[in-house]
Every structure is written in C-alpha cells, then in structure tokens.
Symmetry: C2
C-alpha cells in the first residue's frame, strides 16, 4: 500500500551543525575542511548525511559526537535549506541544527582527525555554499532566547563567575552590557544560583562562583 509514494523522487538529506563554543572571552564556531567534492578543502560546517535508520535529530547528534566526542547534547533545529542548486554537485536538502557546548569537554584529537577547528565568531571565513547564511541565522536565534532560557549552560564550566557569564552574553549578542544591569537581570533568573565557592584565579579579590541549577 505504499506504492503510491513511489512515483515521487527521493533526495539526499544532510544535516549541518552549527556548534558554538566559548573560550578566552569569545564565542567560537566549529568548522571543518570539507572532505568531499564539490568544494573539497573549503571550510564548511560540520555535517553528514542522514542514514536510513536514524531520525534527523539523531543524525545531528551523531555528527556532533563524531566531531567532539560529546553525547546527549541538547541540539535545536534551525531550519531546512532546500534550494535546488544550493549544493552545486547534486541536489541535497540540508537540515541545520545548532548547539552550544563546552569546548573543554571535547576530545582533543578531533581537530586533526577531521580537519576541523574552532574560529572566533567574528572571524568566520568564507564557508561553502549557503553555510555562512546558516551561521548568521543561528547566531541571531540564540541571542533572542538568551535571557529566557539557560541556553548557555553548556558553554561554560560547571562553576563560573558572573564576569564570565557576562562576557559570554556580550559575545553572543555582539554588544556590551552594563555590569550592574546585567547582574540584576541574572539575579532574577532562577536558573542561575550562587555557590559558596570563590574563584581566585582571575582576580586578587576573588569572585563568587555560580552554577546553573538543574530542573
């Protein structure tokens, strides 16, 4: 009874993943040298093709795991890109996901193995096809929900200072934020809680460490 469907064409479906990380005060993006033609050797998002036995969501997870060693990271779908000529080699419909991860938890031989690297978000090189457009849309999207949800909980170490959190917000949004206003707005969020610990690594005086509360 499924024969009715069979008059329709089938397509390659890829997932492209926009992986954000954070270190040294700036937002980073994980990119790779493209291993296929067309565009062999160009910079691109990390990605892969969807397989028969995996959902598109889990396909995105597999891509992330392959490149970073991380499992069970919360990924969100950005959008499907389906222009006929978007991939000059062959028709490929791409479903784009994004995630924000803690770079320090990644396996560290990753970059060599897959020719991948982290780049500053404001220094992303020209990427193949429509990948730069994807990155722009994803960055815009994460800025929008930044204060409503604990989006950036994965970008920071388990315990972090408010200064770290602020520079992360600034980096994602691309603007600078008043310290007092920022701290007040964070104080209202239930998902960020102060711990008893003090971090002395970054200042003589020491800064209180916070964590994202789990719920």
């Amino acid at each position: 009874m499924t024969s009715y469907y069979n008059i329709y064409p089938k397509f390659l479906v890829s997932v492209d993943c926009i992986i954000f990380g954070f270190s040294e005060g700036t937002l980073k993006l994980l990119i790779q040298k493209r291993p296929y033609n067309p565009g062999l050797g160009m910079w691109s998002l990390i990605g892969g093709f969807v397989e028969q036995d995996e959902s598109i969501d889990s396909s995105a997870q597999h891509v992330l795991t392959k490149f970073t060693g991380l499992h069970n990271i919360y990924m969100r779908q950005l959008e499907a890109f389906g222009e006929v000529e978007r991939d000059p080699g062959q028709r490929v419909i791409s479903i784009v996901y994004y995630a924000l991860i803690n770079m320090n938890n990644c396996i560290n031989n990753m970059p060599k193995e897959y020719d991948a690297k982290w780049v500053d978000i404001d220094k992303v090189p020209h990427l193949c096809f429509d990948h730069n457009k994807m990155v722009d849309k994803a960055r815009k999207k994460i800025s929008e929900g930044l204060l409503d949800e604990p989006i950036c909980s994965n970008l920071l170490p388990r315990f972090f200072t408010l200064s770290q959190l602020q520079s992360l917000h600034e980096s994602i949004m691309g603007v600078s934020i008043d310290k007092r206003n920022f701290r007040r707005s964070i104080a209202e969020k239930k998902y960020v809680v102060k711990t008893e610990m003090i971090d002395k690594g970054n200042s003589r005086r020491g800064a209180s460490l916070y964590e994202f509360c789990s719920e």
Copy 2:
C-alpha cells in the same frame, strides 16, 4: 566527482502546509482527507511531495496553489520533521510551512475536488501522524510575532474594522484583549492606517475601516 555522495541513502521529502484563514470571528485551518495509504481517508494537513526541479519553498507554494488557487503568498517554514517512523508507510521527511490567507480569495470549488475543508482552530480533529503537533507549533509561532509584523494582513479583507482585527488577534492568541489597550497598540503601528471609509455592515453607528499599508 559527485560519486562520493552516492553511498548515502535518499529519502522521500514531503511538504506539509498549515494554512490559516479567518472568518466569522474565528481562526480556521485548512485540512484534507488524506488521499494515500497509509491513513487513507484520515484528516491531514494539505501537502505533497517535493519534486526534483523545485526548491522546498516552491514546493510549499505549489501545494498552496493547488488547494486554494492562490499565488505568491508569503509562506514561512516552521520546521522539518524527521522521525524514522513518523509516517507508518514509508520513511518520509516532512518540511512544514505555514501561511495566513484570505479565505475569500480562494477558488471555491477547492473543497470538493480535494476533499478539503476549513475547520475552527479550536475544533481541529485528530489528524494523521504528527500533524496535530505541527499545528500547535505553528499557532504558537504566529502568536509570537503578531504585533511586530503585519502577519495577519492576508487574513482579512483589504479594508477591515478594528473590531475585526481585534477578534482576529484574540482568535490567534486564544485570549481576550482589552479593547482600549488593543486600539492603542494598533495606533502605534505604522503598518495599519485608517481610511475615510465607514463600514455600516456591523453596527448602526458604523465603524472606520482600516487597511494595511504597503511598504
């Protein structure tokens, strides 16, 4: 050089379209009796399969045109749905679009030809597969941007009263709105402008007609 891709599987890709309309003070959804197995005869969103020579966006346009006769309607992508078993017949990846249209401009023999009909948004029957979930997500999405953009310009006739516009907003958001606050917020929007015309159809006193300004 495209041979590398060919080790990967290909998929049927459908577009499902969530078409909102508005009449008699309530938001409506266009649904059809499913013409295929599995699920033959069940209610479903209007949809179709993507063809080789069309982008996913234009595929959605074609679906809309087929069912309504309308051309060049602004459609937005909601999300791609790609669970392995979402269609029990065969693996189909569905890309979901939504649009808001003026029901009165539709060709009116449409319902018979394709077994389609309009239903009140609060009385949507059980739809096949994951289609109800799609509708819920779309309704949530349109409520969010309602005051920022002239989203509902297509749902109303060219000239409309503020009462009509208000009940449309109420119907989309599923809440009731204070008349004075609503009218003030609309007065601030540049994209809604008052005309000299008065509509005497709905009240003895008559109500000013407004229109969406084009820009």
